[in-house]
C-alpha cells in the first residue's frame, strides 16, 4: 500500500478550508484508502508495466498524460511526477501509447514487467494523435475524424488563468463559440452560441455532456430578477471548472450527426479529472480576491434636467457622494471572493480514485448579490481485468445565489441610471431616480437554492483486441427553488416603494431530470495490412423531465411574515410537468488506409416524443474524409511538419418543444369555482424536427519544428424546416402561437486558430495563440407563403436575406429643431439610400443583433521555468445593441434626462425628432469590443521552498479579469443584456443591467 495512516493525519491538520469540507474530505479520503487497500490486496502483480513521461523540451514530468496498452482497456494517467503504473498486461510484450494534449503521442513496444519505461513527449502546436471523445465506443484520434474538434486543456489553463466559472473557461478558447455575458452579478450566466443562430424560435443552446451524460443546459433560470420574464442564472456554471480535465467543442451538424436530434447547435463535451495509479496525491488551493464595477464614474452618463428654469446636471460622483453621506459606503462595493478547494487522487492498478471538494463564496458589487456554493466530486475507475473497466463519475453541487433586482425590475442600476438633478434636494430621492438603494436592499430579496447531482457509470468491455463495447447509464438531477420575496415593511409604504411594501412572494420549486442510456460498440478489423475497418453501432435513449410547483400571492398582514400561507391576496398556485424522450440508433463505418486516409460514413435515426403524429422518424446521414498528407511517402516539405486535409458533411436535428404537436386544454377553475378547462395550445400534428445540414472543410498543419500550428475551417451550415413560432390570428380563439416547420437559415463562415511558440529556450519561452472566426447569418427563406417579415421582438424583424432577429426600425436621417424645442422637417431613410417623410417610412435594416466576428489573442511568457506571465484579449465585433439605458433617459414617452431632451433647443435634432416621433433608431449602436479578459502572473515555487510548506509543489497566481474594455459603445457594457424573456431571445438589449464585474484574484496551489 502506498499511503500510510500518518500521512492522512498530517494532511487532516494541514487543510485550512471550511471545517465541514475538510471533515467530509477526510472521510472520503479514508474510505478511498480503505478501498484502495482492499483492492490492492486483490491485485495481481502479474503483467506490470510502469514508468514515467517527460516533456522533451524541458525534461519536466508530464502530469495527466494518458498511457494505454493498445488493444485492451488497460491504461493509466500519469501523476504529478509523471509516473504511471499499469498492471494486468498479458503476454511477453505489449504496445503502449502515451498521449497528452499539446504533445505528439509516442508508441512503444515494451516488455511486460518493465517498470522503467520512459516516454519523452514532444510538444506540438497541433497534434493529430490526440484522443477525442466521440459518440462511438473505443478511442478515436483526431486524424481519423473529418471535422474540426477544439480541445480545451482545462487542467493547464487553471494553472495560470483566473477561471471562476465554466463559461470563463470556454470564453475565447474555441473559435466561433460566442460567450455573451448577460449580467455582472455574481452567479449569473451567459448566452453561449456556437456557429451563429440556427433557429428562429427553438433554443440556440448547444448540448452539454459531462462524462458522457447529457446535462441540463438551461442558460436562464432562477427568479425573474430582470423582469420581462428574464432570469439570469445559468446551469452551465454549476460545475466547478477545477473539476474539469478537458473540454471538447463539437461545433456543427457535420461533426455532431451521431448525437442526433437536439445536436444542431453543437455539442460541448466535458471530461472531469481522474485519479492516476500511484500514491495518494493531495491538492489544496485557496483563492482570495475581490469583484468590483470598474470605473462607475466614467461609465454612468450625466443626466440633465431643467431646475427652476436652469439646465442642471448630476453625475455618478455626485450621486455616490449623496449615498455616502447617508450610508457611509459607496453605491457599489468591492465584493469579497474566496474559494477553498481540496482534492485527493491516486490508486492502484486495479482501482483509481479522484475526489475533491470546493467551497466558494463570492460577493457581488451590490449588497444583495452573492453566491455561496459547495461542489463535490468522486470519480472512480475499476479495472478488474484487461478486458473490462468500470468508471463512475459523481458530482454534486449545493448552494444559494442571491440576486439583486436589475433591468426591468428596478434596483440600483435603475435608480442610478435615472438620477435626476431636479430631485437632489428632495428627501424622498436625494437625486436618485426612483427608490433609494437602501430601500431596494431592504425590500426585495431574490434567490435560487440548488442541489444538483450528476452521475454516471460506464462499463467498457473489450473481449478481444478488435471489439469494444461500452454502456453509459447516467443522470443529471437538478432541484432548485426560486424565490422572489418583497417583505412587508410599513415604514416604506409611503416611500417610492409604495404598495410593494405590503409584501409579496413568488416561489417555484423546480425539478429537472435528465437521464442518459448510451450503448455503443465498435469492431476494428485489419482487412489487409493497409486497410483498417471500424464498424460502429449504437443506441441512445435520452429522457428529460421538467417539473415545477409554484405559489404566489401578495400582502403580508404583518411585518416579519414571509411564508406563502401568510399572504392574504391574489394567491395562486401552479404546477406543470413536461417530458421529452428521444430514442435513436446509429451505424458508422470508418475505412482507414495506411493510417493516413480515412473515409467515414454514418447514418442515425431518431424518434422523439415531441414529433407530430404525422411525422414518424428522422434520419441523419454523415460522410467525412480525412487525409494526413504529410504522412504520404511523396510528401517532402522540410518546414512543414504535419498537414491534414479534411472535409465533412453531416446532418442533425433539433426537436420542437414538447406538446407543440398537440392541441390541448388546461384545467382551470370555472364559474362558481367548478372544474373547467380552457384552450391552451393549438398544436401542429405535422410538426417535425428542424434539420441542420452542414458541410465543412479545412486543414490542420504544423511547421517550423512544430513551433507553429495553424488550423483553418470553412463551414456552411443550413437549417431546413426551421421552426417558426408562427402567431395565429386570435380570431381563431387560441391565444397561443403555433410552431411550424417553415424557413431556411444559413450560417457560413471561417474559423482559424494559430498557435505559435516564437521563443523556446531553457529559461524563456513565449507561447502565443490567435483565434478568429467569422460567421454570416442569413435567412434564405421564411418559408411562409405571402409573409416577407416576421417580428420576433420589439424593433426586430426576420426578413429574407438578413440575419435572424436583425434590428429593423425607421431611421431619422434629418430634422430641425425650432425655438420651442420641437423638431420639424423630419425625414427618414427610405431604405434605398434616399429620404422619405417619416410617416411613410419603412423599417430599415440597422444591423445584426449578435456578433459576426469573435476571437482572442493569448500570450504566455515562461521565465526560468517557474514564472508565467499570461494575458488574453478577447473580442466580439460587428453587432448592434439596443442601449436601453439611453431609452429610459432619452425617449419622451419614458424619460427626458439626456441633455438632448432636457434642452432640446440645443439638442441633437436627430435625437429630438426621434424621441418626439417615437422613432428610436438612435438607440441602436455598434457594440463591438476588445477586452483584456484575463491577465495573470503565476509563480511555481522551487522544490525547496515548497518543502518548507511541507508540500511537493506550490504555486502562487495573481490574476485579474476584465480590467480594460476598448469599445465605442456608449452604454454601460457592450455585453450586458437581458438573458431571457421577451427582451432576451436572440437580441442584445441592455437596460440597467449590472455591467460585467472586474476582479483581482490571488490563488495558492499546493500539492502533497
Amino acid at each position: 500500500m502506498l499511503v500510510s495512516p500518518c500521512v492522512s493525519r498530517r494532511t487532516r491538520h494541514r487543510f485550512g478550508g471550511p471545517r465541514s469540507t475538510a471533515r467530509l474530505l477526510t472521510r472520503v479520503a479514508t474510505l478511498a484508502m480503505a478501498l484502495e487497500l482492499a483492492l490492492a490486496g486483490l491485485a495481481s502483480a502479474q503483467g506490470l508495466i510502469a514508468g514515467y513521461v517527460t516533456d522533451k523540451s524541458n525534461n519536466q514530468p508530464v502530469a495527466g498524460a494518458q498511457v494505454v496498452v493498445q488493444g485492451t482497456t488497460l491504461g493509466a494517467l500519469t501523476d504529478l511526477s509523471g509516473h504511471f503504473r499499469i498492471n494486468g498486461a498479458n503476454g511477453a510484450t505489449a504496445t503502449v501509447i502515451a498521449r497528452r494534449i499539446g504533445y505528439a503521442s509516442e508508441t512503444k513496444s515494451v516488455t511486460v514487467g518493465d517498470t522503467a519505461v520512459q516516454f519523452v513527449l514532444e510538444p506540438r502546436a497541433t497534434s493529430l494523435d490526440e484522443v477525442v471523445v466521440t459518440a462511438t465506443a473505443g478511442a478515436a484520434t483526431k486524424r481519423e475524424i473529418g471535422n474540426a474538434v477544439t480541445t480545451i486543456d482545462a487542467t493547464r489553463i487553471q494553472q495560470i488563468a483566473p477561471i471562476q466559472s465554466f463559461q470563463e473557461l470556454l470564453n475565447g478558447r474555441a473559435p466561433n463559440v460566442d460567450v455573451i455575458e448577460g449580467s455582472g452579478q455574481v452567479g449569473t450566466g451567459a448566452k453561449i452560441r456556437v456557429r451563429g443562430i440556427s433557429s428562429f424560435d427553438l433554443t440556440q443552446t448547444p448540448l452539454i455532456y459531462v462524462d458522457g451524460v447529457r446535462m441540463d443546459n438551461d442558460q436562464a433560470t432562477g427568479p425573474v430578477n430582470q423582469a420581462f420574464g428574464s432570469s439570469s442564472i445559468s446551469r452551465w456554471n454549476d460545475i466547478d471548472p477545477e473539476e474539469i480535465a478537458k473540454v471538447e467543442v463539437i461545433r456543427g451538424p457535420s461533426a455532431a450527426t451521431l448525437y442526433g436530434t437536439e445536436a444542431s447547435n453543437g455539442v460541448i463535451q466535458i471530461v472531469t479529472k481522474q485519479g492516476a495509479s500511484g500514491p495518494a496525491r493531495y491538492e489544496f488551493s485557496v483563492t482570495q480576491g475581490t469583484n468590483f464595477v470598474m470605473d462607475p464614474q466614467g461609465r454612468w452618463p450625466t443626466n440633465w434636467n431643467m431646475v427652476n428654469g436652469q439646465l442642471e446636471s448630476i453625475d455618478f460622483t455626485q450621486l455616490n457622494n449623496a449615498y455616502k453621506a447617508h450610508t457611509g459606503n459607496d453605491i457599489f462595493q468591492n465584493g469579497y471572493t474566496r474559494k477553498y478547494r481540496a482534492g485527493i487522487g491516486g490508486g492502484t492498478d486495479l482501482f483509481q480514485y479522484y475526489v475533491s471538494a470546493t467551497s466558494e463564496r463570492d460577493d457581488g458589487a451590490e449588497q444583495d448579490n452573492d453566491l455561496h456554493r459547495e461542489n463535490f466530486r468522486a470519480n472512480l475507475t475499476i479495472q478488474p481485468s484487461s478486458k473490462f473497466k468500470v468508471e463512475t463519475h459523481m458530482g454534486y453541487q449545493t448552494g444559494r445565489t442571491n440576486l439583486a433586482p436589475e433591468a426591468g425590475y428596478g434596483g440600483i442600476p435603475w435608480t442610478t441610471m435615472l438620477m435626476d438633478p431636479a430631485s437632489v434636494s428632495d428627501p424622498a430621492f436625494f437625486g436618485f431616480g426612483s427608490s433609494l438603494p437602501w430601500q431596494y436592499n431592504e425590500e426585495y430579496h431574490m434567490f435560487q437554492d440548488i442541489n444538483r447531482f450528476t452521475g454516471s457509470i460506464e462499463f467498457t468491455h473489450q473481449p478481444t483486441s478488435w471489439f469494444t463495447q461500452r454502456l453509459i447509464v447516467g443522470a443529471d438531477q437538478v432541484n432548485t427553488m426560486d424565490v422572489e420575496l418583497a417583505l412587508r415593511i410599513d415604514s416604506l409604504l409611503n416611500t417610492n416603494i409604495g404598495t410593494d411594501a405590503l409584501g409579496y412572494k413568488n416561489q417555484a420549486n423546480n425539478t429537472d431530470e435528465f437521464r442518459t442510456y448510451d450503448y455503443a460498440a465498435t469492431a476494428k478489423i485489419n482487412a489487409t495490412s493497409d486497410l483498417n475497418l471500424a464498424t460502429s453501432v449504437g443506441a441512445q435513449y435520452y429522457t428529460k423531465k421538467y417539473e415545477f410547483v409554484s405559489a404566489s400571492g401578495s400582502v403580508f398582514p404583518a411585518q416579519g411574515l414571509t411564508a406563502i400561507n401568510a399572504l392574504t391576496t391574489g394567491l395562486s398556485t401552479g404546477q406543470d410537468v413536461t417530458e421529452n424522450n428521444t430514442l435513436g440508433y446509429y451505424a458508422q463505418e470508418t475505412i482507414g488506409w495506411k493510417d493516413r486516409r480515412y473515409l467515414t460514413l454514418a447514418l442515425r435515426t431518431d424518434k422523439n416524443s415531441a414529433f407530430g403524429t404525422d411525422f414518424k422518424r428522422a434520419y441523419y446521414p454523415k460522410a467525412s474524409l480525412s487525409w494526413v498528407v504529410s504522412d504520404e511517402p511523396f510528401f517532402h516539405v522540410d518546414w512543414l511538419n504535419s498537414l491534414r486535409l479534411r472535409a465533412a458533411y453531416g446532418e442533425t436535428g433539433q426537436q420542437p418543444d414538447q406538446f407543440s404537436a398537440l392541441r390541448t386544454y388546461a384545467p382551470v377553475t370555472g364559474p362558481g369555482d367548478q372544474p373547467a378547462i380552457t384552450a391552451l395550445t393549438l398544436g401542429n400534428p405535422k410538426l417535425g424536427p428542424e434539420r441542420g445540414k452542414e458541410f465543412e472543410t479545412g486543414f490542420e498543419s504544423s511547421f517550423l519544428n512544430d513551433r507553429v500550428g495553424l488550423e483553418f475551417t470553412y463551414y456552411n451550415k443550413n437549417t431546413d424546416n426551421a421552426i417558426l413560432d408562427q402567431q395565429v390570428a386570435p380570431s381563431v380563439g387560441f391565444g397561443s402561437d403555433m410552431l411550424v416547420n417553415a424557413g431556411h437559415i444559413q450560417n457560413s463562415g471561417e474559423e482559424m486558430v494559430l498557435n505559435v511558440t516564437p521563443v523556446r529556450r531553457d529559461n524563456f519561452q513565449w507561447d502565443a495563440a490567435v483565434s478568429f472566426s467569422h460567421n454570416t447569418n442569413k435567412i434564405i427563406s421564411l418559408g411562409i407563403p405571402g409573409v416577407s417579415s416576421i417580428s420576433p421582438g420589439t424593433y426586430q424583424e426576420d426578413v429574407n436575406g438578413f440575419p435572424v432577429g436583425a434590428w429593423f426600425l425607421r431611421k431619422v436621417t434629418s430634422a430641425q429643431v425650432d425655438g420651442t424645442g420641437t423638431a420639424y422637417n423630419i425625414m427618414c431613410a427610405d431604405g434605398h439610400g434616399g429620404q422619405v417623410d417619416c410617416a411613410n417610412a419603412p423599417n430599415v435594416y440597422q444591423g445584426s443583433s449578435v456578433p459576426t466576428k469573435e476571437g482572442a489573442f493569448t500570450s504566455t511568457f515562461t521565465l526560468w521555468k517557474r514564472l508565467k506571465l499570461y494575458g488574453t484579449v478577447d473580442y466580439q465585433l460587428d453587432f448592434q445593441k439596443l442601449d436601453g439605458n439611453l431609452r429610459i433617459r432619452c425617449y419622451f414617452e419614458i424619460g427626458g434626462l439626456c441633455k438632448d431632451l432636457a434642452d432640446p433647443v440645443h439638442g441633437n435634432p436627430i435625437i429630438v425628432a426621434g424621441a418626439q416621433e417615437g422613432i428610436p433608431s438612435y438607440l441602436i449602436s455598434n457594440a463591438s469590443f476588445y477586452r483584456l479578459g484575463e491577465v495573470s502572473a503565476s509563480y511555481a515555487l522551487s522544490d525547496e521552498m515548497a518543502s518548507r510548506l511541507h508540500a511537493r509543489t506550490a504555486s502562487l497566481t495573481l490574476a485579474g479579469r476584465n480590467l480594460v474594455t476598448w469599445t465605442n459603445y456608449k452604454g454601460l457594457d457592450p455585453t450586458a443584456q437581458f438573458l431571457g424573456g421577451s427582451r432576451g431571445t436572440s437580441v442584445a438589449w441592455e437596460q440597467t443591467v449590472t455591467p460585467t464585474l472586474s476582479s483581482f484574484l490571488l490563488t495558492l496551489n499546493l500539492t502533497f
Partner: protein, 447 residues
C-alpha cells in the same frame, strides 16, 4: 491450440459478440414505442375531451373564459373612457388611458385577461362558446350526461356567445370570426364592422331565445338573451326592437345574471377589484365618478372613496367600493339595464315622460330624489345616458355609450397626458383598431 481451433474459437467469439449487440439493439427497438410515451398531467389533449359526455366541463370552460374576458373588457373600457385612470408607472399600460393604442402594442394585442389584454381573451371567449355549441348541436340528447338538458345548455352557451360578440362589436373598430375545424384546419373569417358583429350577436341571442323557449326550463338564459339582444339592438340604433326585447324582462325586478368571482386563482378574481382596492390601485376611479351625488344626495350606485395617497405616477388615488372584495360578482345582464334600454327607446321615440318614470323608479331603489330636470327630449335622453353611467358603473357599458352617442371626451384629444404625450384618439373613433397580430396572420385581411 491448433490454428483451426483458434479460428473456430475466434469465429464463435465474434458471432457471440455480434449476437449480443444485435439482441441489445433489437430489444431497444421492440421497446421503442413505449419508451417514447410521456404523460401529460397538466394538459388535456383536445381529441378525447371534446365529446357531449363532457358537456358540463366544456360549458364551464366557455363561461370561465367569458368571465375572465369580461374583467379586462371592463378595465380597458373604463380606462378608454372616464370611469378609470391608470395609476401605474408602467408606460405600456398608459395607452388605454391616453386613448392611443398602437396596433402592435403587446399588452393590447397579445396579453391575456389577467394582464389588461382584451383582444385575445374576448376572441377566446367567443370561440369557446361557439365550439361547445357546435359539439352540442351535433350531439343527440342520448349522448348527454345524465340530468343535463342539451337544449338548456345550448341556450346558455348561445347567450354567452352573443355577449362575447357584443364585446367584440363594442370595443373594436372591426373584428373577425374564424373557426377551428375538427380536423385541425382553420377557416379564417373576414373583417366585420361593429354593426356586422352586433348582428352576429343578434343571431346568437336569437338561438339562445328560441332554444330556451323550446326547452322551457332555462328562464335565466332566456332573460339573459333578451337583455343581450336588446343591448345589441340598442347598439345598432334599433330602438323599437331593443325595447321589445327588454320588455320581456321588465316583470322580473330582481333579475340579474352575473359573472362569478373568487380568490381561487388570478383568473377567477373580480378584475375590477384586483385593479382597484384598498391595498393596490393600478386603475383609479376617474374624477367624474368621485363622490357622485344627485341633487346633493350621495349616489350609492357609484360608491367611491379618496384613498388619500398618490400613485406611483403622482395621481390622487380613488377607490371604488362597488365591488367589495375579490369574490364579488359582476353583473352581465340585469333588470335595471333592461329598464334603461326601454327608457332610452321611449325617449328616442318621443316619449320622455315614460323615460322619466323609469328614471324615478331607479332613483327610488337607490334612495335618490326624483328627477327634477328639464323634460324636453334631449335633456331626458342625456339623463338616461347619465343614469346608465351610474346604474351600470364599471360593468363594461360606458365605452359604447360614449361611442354610440358620440360624447365628447374628457380630457379632449390633444390635451397633454400627465405622464407625457397627448390624449387621443387621433381620429374620431374611440374604438380599438384591429391589432397587427390579427391582420398579419389572417390571410383574408389586407396588410
Amino acid at each position: 491450440m491448433k490454428l483451426s481451433q483458434r479460428n473456430t474459437t475466434a469465429r464463435r467469439s465474434r458471432q457471440g459478440i455480434l449476437l449480443f449487440s444485435a439482441a441489445l439493439l433489437l430489444g431497444a427497438l421492440a421497446a421503442c414505442d413505449s419508451l417514447l410515451d410521456v404523460p401529460v398531467p397538466s394538459r388535456i389533449p383536445a381529441g378525447p375531451l371534446e365529446t357531449p359526455a363532457n358537456a358540463i366541463l366544456l360549458a364551464n370552460g366557455a363561461i370561465g373564459d367569458f368571465d375572465c374576458a369580461l374583467g379586462s373588457f371592463i378595465i380597458v373600457g373604463g380606462e378608454l373612457t372616464d370611469e378609470l385612470e391608470d395609476a401605474t408607472e408602467t408606460a405600456a399600460r398608459w395607452v388605454y388611458d391616453k386613448r392611443v393604442v398602437p396596433t402592435d402594442q403587446e399588452l393590447y394585442s397579445t396579453a391575456d385577461c389577467d394582464d389588461e389584454g382584451t383582444y385575445i381573451p374576448t376572441n377566446r371567449a367567443r370561440e369557446s362558446a361557439d365550439n361547445v355549441l357546435r359539439i352540442l348541436q351535433n350531439a343527440t340528447d342520448q349522448q348527454m350526461p345524465g340530468g343535463v338538458s342539451r337544449d338548456s345548455l345550448i341556450a346558455t352557451l348561445a347567450a354567452y356567445a352573443g355577449y362575447a360578440r357584443i364585446q367584440l362589436g363594442e370595443m373594436f373598430c372591426s373584428s373577425v370570426i374564424s373557426t377551428l375545424n375538427p380536423d385541425g384546419s382553420i377557416t379564417y373569417g373576414t373583417e366585420l364592422t361593429p354593426t356586422q358583429m352586433l348582428q352576429s350577436a343578434d343571431s346568437s341571442f336569437t338561438l339562445a331565445i328560441t332554444t330556451a323557449q323550446s326547452s322551457n326550463n332555462n328562464q335565466d338564459a332566456l332573460e339573459m338573451a333578451y337583455i343581450g339582444r336588446a343591448r345589441a339592438e340598442l347598439d345598432q340604433g334599433l330602438w323599437d326592437a331593443a325595447k321589445a326585447d327588454a320588455q320581456q324582462v321588465a316583470g322580473d325586478v330582481n333579475y340579474e345574471h352575473v359573472s362569478t368571482a373568487s380568490s381561487t386563482t388570478v383568473r377567477r378574481e373580480n378584475r375590477v377589484w384586483a385593479e382597484n382596492n384598498s391595498t393596490a390601485i393600478s386603475s383609479s376611479v376617474g374624477p367624474r365618478y368621485q363622490n357622485m351625488t344627485y341633487n346633493g344626495v350621495p349616489d350609492h350606485r357609484v360608491p367611491t372613496v379618496d384613498f388619500h395617497q398618490l400613485s406611483e405616477s403622482g395621481l390622487e388615488e380613488w377607490e371604488q367600493l362597488k365591488y367589495s372584495d375579490v369574490g364579488t360578482s359582476i353583473p352581465i345582464a340585469k333588470w335595471s339595464e333592461a329598464e334603461l334600454i326601454i327608457a332610452e327607446a321611449d325617449v328616442r321615440d318621443g316619449d320622455p315622460n315614460s323615460a322619466i318614470t323609469i328614471i324615478n323608479t331607479l332613483h327610488e331603489r337607490a334612495g335618490l330624489p326624483d328627477y327634477n330636470g328639464a323634460t324636453d327630449q334631449a335633456s331626458v335622453l342625456n339623463q338616461v345616458i347619465e343614469e346608465r353611467s351610474r346604474e351600470l358603473f364599471l360593468e363594461g357599458q360606458r365605452l359604447y355609450d360614449v361611442i354610440r352617442n358620440n360624447m365628447s371626451l374628457q380630457p379632449p384629444p390633444g390635451a397633454p397626458y400627465r405622464n407625457g404625450g397627448q390624449y387621443g384618439p387621433d381620429g374620431s373613433q374611440l374604438c380599438l383598431k384591429l391589432p397587427d397580430i390579427e391582420r398579419a396572420n389572417n390571410p383574408n385581411l389586407s396588410h
